[in-house]
């Protein structure tokens, strides 16, 4: 799990090439660690889901940061590839269950007690 998180020193430049461990249960969406963002503008053009924008941020060393619109993020991974500062990490969208799985926590518990 820790390895799946951006920020861990690893051999992987860009996207760690496996899903985060929680992806089996909840949808991964990208998030920017604002303290790491260097406002380089590389990631927004690589997002084809209207989910990445630059925003002014008073007090930030660069005055601006990349921001993920998580409701639009489809977890494709391209922003991780674009980032030279290792500023992205995966967070769980608890509102989204995998395709084929029950969609609410009630039904999840039900599913867990069934044998399939």
């Amino acid at each position: 799990m820790a390895r799946a998180m951006s920020g861990t020193k690893s051999k992987y430049a860009g996207l760690y090439p496996h899903p985060p461990a929680f992806a089996a249960e909840h949808a991964p969406v990208a998030e920017v660690v604002e303290g790491k963002c260097i406002a380089c503008d590389r990631c927004p053009p690589l997002c084809f889901f209207e989910a990445l924008f630059m925003e002014d941020r008073r007090g930030h060393p660069y005055g601006r940061v990349a921001v993920v619109v998580q409701r639009n993020c489809t977890g494709c991974g391209l922003c991780f590839e674009a980032c030279p500062a290792d500023a992205f990490l995966w967070v769980a969208d608890h509102g989204q269950r995998p395709y084929g799985a029950a969609q609410t926590s009630d039904r999840k518990e039900k599913r867990d007690h069934e044998s399939y």
Binding site: L15, F48, F49, T74, C76, Y99
Partner: protein, 337 residues
């Protein structure tokens, strides 16, 4: 001098089209394509309900392998490895997507579909036509298609069924294979209006640290600038084998790449990964690069050079050859030290 290109009865403002995929899954992207003078847009592929699972995508699902990481539109090398599959909405959403795209587009909008049974192919094509698609591309060679579906057993019937079902032009998208030229001929015989060559191929990459396939753990589609040399060969072979027009696609990074495909007989050229990696401006840049070439060569239209390099493709027996041996003859004498 004009980039204007006649293709399937349309007068396209440029031979450069946006290929089906993530640069054509949102109606608002039509505006971006138009601003850059794209010739036409092939919308993201919609799958039949039987393949509803292909509307759902793993996370993450894109990796840029061997990427030079150049920014500001200057990247030249990469391999785009992905497993995104089909349009993410329901079929009803897709028909509305076509309608909305047509409503706002000044350039032709083509639908793209995938199914297995001929009846489903015909049904999707008919619905796409009714929704306003000005042509329909059959994505029979998707790198994500189920392995059980083969050209002869499934897709020949699909092409026939679609051609019988719709009035708009039908493009058949094929992937590199040993018998691709044969598939092109069969598609033409079945009534296809044009061929799209080539789809991305199915690839696989392995992570040596975790010792397992990367991303979702299964094969993926793979493409990139390197693909063009293989696709140029396939376009050349197809252009010799069929009379219907060819829409070439694969590895295009520059206007020069577009011109190469046209010199080999293609009428239009579809691009996508260059847009993803180098931005929407890539379409406009490629258009300008083509214009600079036309200016330099004194070309009024691209039609005058279509197939010119193909006509200069010679036979193996015509290749001028020389001896590979040195003056002392065969290299078969062991020299003692």
């Amino acid at each position: 001098m004009s980039l204007s290109t006649e293709f399937l009865g349309f007068s396209l403002q440029s031979p450069v089209m946006v290929a089906s995929g993530p640069a054509s899954h949102d109606v608002n992207q039509i505006r971006l394509a138009q601003e850059q003078r794209a010739g036409a847009v092939v919308l993201k592929t919609a799958c039949s309900d039987k393949y509803a699972h292909m509307r759902y995508w793993p996370r993450p699902r894109y990796k840029l392998l061997d990427w030079d990481k150049q920014i500001a539109g200057r990247s030249k090398t990469f391999s785009l490895y992905s497993y995104e599959q089909g349009y993410s909405g329901r079929l009803e959403d897709y028909w509305e997507f076509i309608r909305a795209s047509r409503e706002h587009a000044r350039i032709p909008i083509f639908g793209s579909i995938f199914a297995d049974e001929a009846r489903d192919w015909a049904d999707l094509a008919r619905r796409a036509e009714e929704s306003g698609a000005e042509a329909v591309e059959l994505d029979i060679s998707s790198p994500h298609r189920p392995r059980s579906l083969e050209f002869e057993t499934t897709f020949v019937a699909a092409i026939r069924a679609v051609v019988a079902a719709v009035h708009v032009p039908v493009l058949v998208k094929l992937a590199p294979s040993a018998d691709l030229a044969h598939q092109c001929t069969v598609a033409e015989e079945c009534g296809a209006s044009a061929l799209t060559l080539c789809n991305r191929i199915r690839g696989l990459d392995v992570d040596v640290e975790e010792q397992r396939p990367i991303l979702h753990g299964y094969f993926a589609g793979i493409g990139g600038p390197w693909a063009k040399y293989s696709v140029m060969r396939h376009v050349a072979e197809a252009a010799q084998a069929v009379r219907i027009p060819i829409s070439a696609t694969g590895g295009v990074m520059s206007g020069e790449d577009v011109i190469k495909y046209i010199l080999l007989g293609a009428t239009t050229v579809q691009i996508l990964s260059v847009i993803m990696v180098n931005g929407w401006d890539s379409i406009g840049r490629i258009n300008r690069e083509i214009e600079v070439y036309m200016e330099r060569k004194g070309l009024a239209t691209l039609a005058v050079i279509r197939g010119r390099a193909l006509s200069r493709l010679i036979r193996p027996e015509e290749i001028i050859r020389y001896s590979g041996e040195g003056a002392d003859g065969p290299r078969n004498v062991w020299n003692e030290e």
